[in-house]
């Protein structure tokens, strides 16, 4: 066994990124993700990379846009208000087909809200916080190990599909520590050369142009369908999902990220209490594991969706399940003192198991 590290989630995502060859980070401080810029500021200079604290999140995402256009792996991170400010830049990156990794360690909102764990940015991440109907790849780790692993995956998927990838964590996953077993970076696939990137034209016949403006008749529509195909490919090939005990389940609990961690304990409690409860934990939120839900609910008709918000992923669950399924929701929108406990979720399981 490799030596285990004992680190915060916020650090794990950096360790993974650096292992995956990311040498550029642009960001702006915001709680509860400050350990990310802080870690990068310590490590990147020694690796010949660049850590730059931007003047704002708006500037940061546009520096990321520039660095990505220049052909390198680059990352930014933020939370709540900062992610909102990146919306325009993200839309431009999606439109310009620029890969990058954006980490959102969710805090609670709306507005200034609070710095505690929340999952209220699900819609923003998955349905597109910015304008113009693009998608991000959205990955939702539920452990420090997975933050590390998915950090690498995020870079690979982003490069492969030329779609920006978001790691959607929350204050719980970002701030907690647990063991991490590092392993060497192994790209998911052979990745395409970035021959579209700007480097100075050099001996190329044509200058490279990275842009999202399409003026010719039909050009923008064609571009959008091309992006749409890309999203379809992601749906076809890149879904990731963890399931526990769904084969004999009478009730399926579904949750992602931090909520899934709490849910896992609740599910164990239920199993110990003799309830046949299973778990579906989407790891990719976009692409959403639609098939898993549909198939599972062909047998097990009842699903309880648990989120740290007032109900967001539950819509994607409802859109995915078999027509006969009965999807219920339990959520807490977060804030100081408002994290649900395993006991509380166990109670919910008991309740929804019965009626």
């Amino acid at each position: 066994m490799n030596k285990r590290l004992f680190v915060k989630g916020n650090e794990a995502v950096c360790i993974g990124a650096i292992a995956a060859g990311c040498r550029y980070y642009f960001g702006y401080p915001i709680t509860p993700q400050n350990e990310i810029p802080e870690y990068m500021s310590r490590e990147l200079p020694g690796l010949g990379g660049t850590f730059l604290q931007a003047e704002s999140e708006v500037a940061a995402i546009n520096m990321v846009l520039g660095a990505s256009a220049a052909g390198v792996r680059v990352m930014t991170s933020s939370s709540g208000p900062g992610i909102s400010l990146k919306a325009e830049g993200l839309s431009y990156m999606a439109g310009s087909e620029l890969p990058a990794v954006i980490v959102n360690i969710m805090r609670c909102g709306p507005g200034l809200g609070g710095i505690d764990a929340s999952q209220a940015d699900y819609f923003q991440a998955v349905k597109g916080g910015g304008h113009g109907g693009y998608h991000l790849i959205v990955l939702a780790p539920d452990s420090i190990q997975e933050l590390y692993d998915l950090s690498m995956v995020a870079f690979d998927l982003a490069d492969q599909y030329r779609v920006p990838a978001m790691i959607l964590g929350d204050a719980m996953i970002g701030q907690m520590k647990e063991a991490l077993i590092p392993h060497p970076y192994q790209p998911l696939a052979e990745l395409p050369a970035k021959d579209w990137s700007v480097t100075g034209k050099g001996n190329r016949v044509q200058g490279n142009t990275v842009k999202s403006l399409f003026l010719q008749d039909g050009a923008l529509e064609a571009h959008n369908w091309r992006l749409h195909d890309r999203y379809q490919q992601l749906k076809d090939r890149e879904v990731r999902c963890e399931t526990i005990g769904i084969d004999d389940a009478e009730l399926i609990l579904t949750a992602f990220g931090g909520a899934a961690r709490i849910a896992k304990t609740a599910v164990s409690m239920a199993r110990q209490a003799g309830l046949k409860v299973g778990l579906i934990r989407p790891i990719t939120l976009f692409p959403f594991p639609e098939q898993v839900f549909r198939q599972a609910t062909e047998r097990c008709r009842r699903v309880l969706c648990v989120e740290l918000n007032n109900g967001q992923m539950v819509e994607d669950v409802r859109l995915s399940v078999d027509r006969q399924a009965d999807v219920r929701f339990y959520g807490r929108p977060g804030g100081t003192g408002s994290l649900p406990t395993p006991e509380e979720l166990f109670e919910q399981l008991q309740k929804h198991y019965k009626d």
Binding site: M176, S268, E343
Partner: protein, 185 residues
């Protein structure tokens, strides 16, 4: 969940500056070094100073689910506010150690848990620094519930403490020991 396997949770609370996060982290780290699984989950008030501080530690053989628990089995309470808020939440059958130097427990009585008064500030002051009350409490906990060996914690301390503070290690070890023996006695 396999009942033969270990799965222990510890919750600690006090005010910022009492070193709650430090001992929580230390305990979890010691468990990791000892080959167990462990999670450490901190929570702060909004203020950097003076506000409340708390954390949850889980130590287990198997994979850890929730890093937080609603009703913790092992609880360390370091000031009066923490006592008021968290004493009622100790799991029935659980263990609660409180810092009797700062806590007046008279209004708090439960017969369904094991409550133990530790004059942590006093013992720490005897060791030489009131700030070691956190170590006293941890030592006491380990005497009552050996989630990890005291020895492992001591080794972890050596790794965790940054070079420039190494000189404080002996006092910390002493505080751990004093807490341990106080609770063993």
């Amino acid at each position: 969940m396999d009942n033969n396997k270990m799965n222990e949770d510890v919750f600690m609370a006090g005010f910022g500056g009492q070193g709650i996060l430090l001992v929580g982290n230390l305990l979890a780290y010691a468990a990791i070094e000892a080959g167990k699984n462990a999670s450490f989950f901190p929570a702060y008030g909004p203020e950097k100073r003076g506000g409340a501080a708390m954390c949850s530690v889980i130590v287990a053989d198997q994979e850890i689910g929730s890093p937080v628990v609603g009703r913790p089995s092992n609880v360390l309470l370091l000031n009066q506010d923490a006592m008021a808020k968290y004493y009622p939440r100790v799991r029935p059958g659980g263990l609660c150690l409180y810092n009797s130097s700062l806590i007046d427990a008279s209004g708090h009585q439960r017969s369904d848990i094991c409550s133990l008064a530790i004059p942590a500030n006093q013992i720490a002051t005897e060791v030489g620094n009131v700030k070691l009350a956190n170590m006293v409490m941890l030592g006491a906990l380990l005497a009552r519930n050996p989630l990890v060996q005291l020895e492992s914690v001591k080794q972890a301390l050596d790794i965790i403490i940054p070079e420039r503070n190494k000189r404080f290690i002996p006092a910390n070890l002493q505080a751990l020991d004093r807490g341990f023996s106080f609770a063993t006695a």
